[in-house]
């Protein structure tokens, strides 16, 4: 793991892009230069001094030339509901933290030939840099996205622009794509094989709510596909020192911040 920095990061923009969904762009040249797919930043949110803990957010995209990073965040609690009010100011980012999806490396060493990425809700964001990496490497890659409504499918357009074709989508309320959970789309893809050539997938990367990841991990296991997940636990230090964020694995408790956030699905002991 490369050295971590704690970078003062000016908020360049911070806009709503969907229901309770916002895109924040931050000036953070060091992190933008170093970050690899699946890594996150541990953010000190400005203007909230009664909140002493940082909040982890995955990097959605970076622009190494401009020295900026983007995060896609959802309002779920106190700070994510406060963050949309930030129009300017300096956040502080520890990063880039964590390990990385292994898809691209696996494609190079031949253990991955066809990849399937599954993003539920804001889980679509931490997979996007992986998608870019696989695309650039030339790996046939399909994407399944799920969200509650059409408006919440905020990452769809970027994936479409990247691959030149729509990702498979599902919405809980049926307002776009398949109605219901995206797991049925995953099942379909796993049984039918890659959209380009019908060959079976041998790499599955999943990010989303834990129940979704558990189900998809089960499907991956049944289909014999190597599966990776991004585990999101509450974090205090965000750098491996405090043991707040542990995940139960077959090798004991692992820190999701630095031993993860990406774990082999088969190693996870589900609670």
């Amino acid at each position: 793991m490369s050295a971590l920095v704690n970078e003062v990061a000016r908020i360049i923009s911070n806009e709503p892009i969907g229901p309770r969904l916002h895109l924040m762009v931050l000036e953070s040249p060091t992190i933008a230069a170093k970050v690899t797919p699946g890594q996150f930043v541990h953010m000190k949110v400005p203007g909230a001094p009664d909140h002493i803990l940082r909040r982890p957010f995955s990097i959605y995209s970076r622009n190494a030339n401009e020295g900026s990073v983007e995060i896609l965040y959802q309002e779920v609690g106190t700070l994510t509901r406060f963050m949309p009010s930030l129009k300017e100011g300096d956040a502080e980012l520890i990063g880039p933290v964590g390990n990385t999806w292994t898809g691209a490396r696996r494609y190079k060493d031949g253990s991955c030939t066809h990849a399937l990425l599954v993003g539920g809700g804001v889980g679509a964001a931490p997979l996007f840099m992986l998608a870019e990496q696989l695309k650039e490497a030339g790996c046939p890659t399909d994407v399944v996205l799920g969200a509650q409504t059409k408006e919440a499918l905020v990452c769809r357009a970027r994936y479409e622009a990247l691959f030149g074709c729509e990702p498979s989508c599902a919405t809980d309320d049926g307002t776009y794509g398949r109605a219901g959970f995206c797991t049925s789309l995953v099942e379909e893809r796993l049984s039918q094989g890659c959209l380009s050539d019908g060959k079976p997938y041998d790499y599955l990367a999943v990010c989303g709510p834990e129940p979704l990841m558990k189900i998809v991990a089960g499907m991956g296991a049944q289909a014999g596909v190597y599966t990776e997940l991004s585990m999101e636990k509450r974090m205090a230090c965000g750098i491996g020192a405090c043991l707040s964020c542990v995940v139960d694995t077959t090798m004991g408790k692992k820190r999701s911040c630095v031993d993860g956030p990406i774990f082999k699905a088969e190693d996870i002991v589900w609670g």
Binding site: I52, L53, G238
Partner: protein
């Protein structure tokens, strides 16, 4: 990697026989054994690094969620997860020695004997500069109660540890007691060279949507700025009650916080939860102490200790 700045202020302190180059160490459990923070601060320049509590064969700790945020504070119920003393000896302590850090090892036990076993396993290594004996663990010999709340248990376990080592022994007190001075006196009478306070206050938080406690273990330890007034009060009470030096902690995140503790009677201070907010907090606190001394004509930090008027 942040460094303390140059100064003519004399910063060295003596904590019950432990020489510290400046008064600032880390609060056990918030800094692991320093390695994780070495991208941010030069750990060799800290007064000391206090390591995460270690037990004989390691513990796997509590279920998740283990933390929750509270107003100006946090709750944790890590449950003293640690890989055991052998791992510490083989990995962490040699690294600390190599980088030139002063090392305080925080010692845990589920029984009185386990404390002694841990110290015995470490004592000949030459890798330990002082022990911090954490008597806030729930303990079988004390009937499941925290041993640190009962003066008799405190005397017993501290006395046993005292026999096991000649190194400086700091005893770390729990604040969850009616009268902290009674516990402090028991620890000193049994041979503590210094006292460290405070450990966390027992607290709880509830998720009203799920009607469940925020922590899997229901209750956890409260730390951070919220507890600072309680910690300061206890340091001051204990300073008046005993004659050994004190290591103060509880919500310290700035030089000003540290100076408050020193004026109340602490010879040195530990930075804990603040590391999570700000990974350079330890060095920032040292620099803040230097600023204060320079601005107030204090030539030696020891002048501050107990200087409350």
């Amino acid at each position: 990697m942040r460094q303390p700045r140059q100064t003519n202020v004399k910063l060295a302190v003596d904590l019950g026989g432990l020489h510290m180059k400046n008064p600032v160490t880390t609060a056990s459990g918030t800094f692991a054994a320093g390695h994780e923070y070495s991208d941010f601060v030069d750990v060799s320049k800290l007064g000391a690094v206090t390591t995460k509590g270690v037990s004989l064969n390691g513990w796997s700790g509590n279920a998740s969620p283990r933390i929750a945020e509270t107003p100006s504070g946090m709750l944790n119920s890590i449950g003293l997860q640690n890989p055991g003393v052998k791992h510490l000896l083989e990995h962490d302590l040699p690294w600390l020695r190599e980088v030139g850090a002063t090392t305080i090892v925080n010692v845990s036990g589920h029984s009185f004997d386990e404390y002694v076993d841990v110290i015995e396993a470490l004592d000949e290594s030459g890798l330990v500069d002082a022990y911090e004996v954490n008597i806030s663990c729930p303990n079988v010999d004390a009937g499941g109660m925290t041993i640190g709340t009962d003066p008799k248990s405190v005397e017993q376990v501290v006395g046993m540890c005292r026999k096991a080592t000649k190194l400086p022994m700091i005893v770390k007190l729990t604040p969850n007691v009616t009268d902290i001075t009674e516990i402090a006196k028991a620890a000193v009478s049994a041979g503590a060279d210094a006292l460290s306070l405070i450990n966390t206050l027992l607290g709880m938080a509830i998720d009203i949507e799920r009607r469940k406690p925020q922590l899997a273990r229901y209750v956890g330890g409260l730390s951070g700025p919220a507890v600072k007034p309680v910690a300061l009060r206890m340091v001051w009470e204990v300073h008046k009650a005993v004659d050994v030096p004190l290591l103060g902690m509880g919500g310290i995140g700035t030089g000003a916080d540290a100076v408050e503790f020193m004026l109340a009677g602490a010879t040195s201070v530990a930075v804990g939860t603040a590391n999570f907010t700000n990974p350079t907090a330890t060095v920032d606190v040292i620099n803040g102490i230097i600023d204060y001394c320079e601005n107030h004509g204090v030539g030696d930090v020891n002048e501050l200790v107990g200087a409350l008027q």
